[in-house]
């Protein structure tokens, strides 16, 4: 199914033409360059009682990610590994098109793409989360809560997850399992998403751009310049060259975003 839940009725034919015309002149509806993301603000520790949390504001898109860490049984085929579980809620307060109820395919895709980025980029050293081999390990729940939807949830959620993980403590003492310790985060795989508008690739599309993009590509790269995950979306196509271009731009932007995520902002919104 197409992404109609995200964009239904958001934009008129006239606006659509206007955005295309701007693109042909090298600019965007909010004045950004093609490879420029919106202002990014990350507030770590927004929810003090969660084991880790971060509020991400990417332009007007607002996502809160909270981490809970609890002991649990390991999967039978990975007795020596902690568990990562990622969930996304498109809370209906975030958009008139989000409805209450169980997660739809958009929420499922969002959760899985964020999960793959963290998992395949080995962001967390899961082997350090074993309490007793084969019996008891730490389960890391990453819960993504979308609060205000103005496009590009993949990136906002991915940044929130990384920032929240980076700031999370394993609550060992609460369970009488020794001292609390910092969640072992070893890599920072950063997703960057591009929308294809006409023949142009624009970074971090906002809602208006997302509504008229023919295709979407998210590339997750880590601090070593390796690629950890990709996800193409929508019913348009990319050429080989376009994909290569997007990968390169994603790496560049990813580097800058990683610095912001690793920044020492820590505290509540004022």
């Amino acid at each position: 199914m197409s992404n109609s839940k995200f964009t239904a009725g958001v934009i008129s034919e006239m606006e659509k033409n206007y955005i295309h015309r701007l693109a042909s002149k090298g600019t965007r509806i909010d004045g950004r360059k093609f490879d420029e993301i919106r202002p990014l603000k990350i507030t770590k520790g927004y929810v003090e009682r969660a084991e880790g949390s971060a509020l991400v504001e990417l332009g007007n898109t607002k996502v809160l990610v909270g981490i809970k860490i609890e002991p649990g049984a390991p999967f039978p085929d990975t007795p020596n590994s902690g568990i990562l579980a990622t969930n996304a809620e498109l809370a209906p307060l975030a958009s008139p098109t989000f409805e209450p109820g169980p997660p739809g395919e958009e929420a499922v895709e969002l959760a899985r793409v964020v999960d793959r980025g963290i998992r395949e980029g080995h962001a967390i050293d899961l082997e350090k989360l074993v309490i007793e081999e084969g019996e008891n390990v730490w389960v890391v729940f990453v819960d993504i809560h979308v609060l205000d939807y103005d496009g590009n949830l993949f990136d906002a959620s991915g940044y929130g997850a990384l920032a929240a993980l980076a700031n999370a403590m394993v609550p060992a003492s609460k369970h009488e399992l020794g001292d609390d310790f910092k969640l072992p985060v070893q890599h920072y795989p950063v997703p960057v998403t591009f929308g294809k508008i006409g023949d142009w690739m624009v970074a971090d599309p906002n809602l208006d751009e997302e509504s008229i993009a023919s295709a979407r590509l998210t590339v997750t790269t880590n601090e070593e310049g390796h690629i950890n995950a990709m996800q193409k979306g929508l019913s348009g196509t990319f050429t080989y060259e376009e994909v290569q271009k997007v990968i390169n731009m994603s790496m560049d932007i990813g580097r800058k975003v990683r610095e912001i995520i690793l920044g020492d902002s820590d505290g509540k919104e004022d």
Partner: protein, 241 residues
């Protein structure tokens, strides 16, 4: 209410475990207009509670069979983020959330001029991002601001607050420990102008006199919370001008 415990909730000086007097509120901060997409929105910090509310509507009610020919329907949805509580909560509504959504909807409907918008719904989403006892009354208080921010005509700016009983003492605005180990909780929602009661629940064990004392305390507190609401709205709309 009423889990057994050895915790002393009121100390020898009559102070509570967070240092408050019996009739003292926890710190409260409010902000109006915190979300872009919603028709109206607001945020409240009340003790350790962090709650966001958004309003959509009046809009055509969907599915159609829920439409009322002579009025808007008010649908409040109360939900808690998975990470809002000590032990992770499974996403999705549980029976508590369903009940709270129902009584909050009824309380909010009491102040809205629903007859102005037949066949529509006014949807109020209350998201508890961090929970610290009293979420339903804080949720009503912040929902009132979001409704005002959405320009929904109301006959009053409704206010929620709770009182209760801990260690045999009637106290205002229970925190988490008092809620867990106390003897009674009385959440209320009040129309501050007319002093009508729009939400009233109670559980625990109280004499008639204790209950009246708790209600009196709440009535008084709602007046000061109401002032904070007005201030929060002014801050938003002064910035705008």
């Amino acid at each position: 209410m009423g889990m057994k415990s050895d915790i002393k909730l009121i100390d020898d000086n009559g102070l509570r475990i967070d240092g408050r007097l019996p009739n003292q509120l926890r710190p409260i901060k409010m902000k109006v207009g915190v979300l872009q997409r919603a028709d109206g929105s607001a945020y409240i910090e009340w003790g350790g509670n962090r709650i966001m509310a958004a309003v959509y509507g009046p809009r055509e009610a969907y599915p159609k069979h829920v439409q009322e020919p002579d009025k808007a329907i008010v649908r409040a949805r109360y939900s808690m983020a998975a990470f809002s509580v000590d032990e992770r909560k499974r996403p999705g509504p549980d029976r508590r959330s369903i009940e709270l959504g129902k009584v909050i909807s009824e309380a909010l409907e009491s102040v809205i001029f629903v007859e102005k918008y037949p066949r529509t719904s006014i949807d109020v989403y209350i998201e508890v991002l961090q929970a610290d006892a009293g979420t339903r009354v804080a949720g009503i208080t912040v929902a009132a601001l979001a409704l005002a921010d959405a320009g929904i005509p109301m006959r009053d700016l409704i206010v929620g607050c709770a009182a209760g009983k801990v260690d045999g003492v009637v106290v205002l605005d229970l925190n988490k420990e008092e809620d867990n180990y106390g003897e009674a909780d009385v959440p209320m929602a009040i129309l501050p102008r007319t002093k009508e009661i729009a939400l009233l629940q109670m559980d625990g064990d109280m004499t008639y006199e204790e209950l009246k004392a708790a209600m009196d305390m709440t009535f008084e507190a709602t007046q000061s919370i109401h002032k904070m609401q007005i201030e929060a709205l002014k801050r938003k709309y002064m910035e705008v001008e």
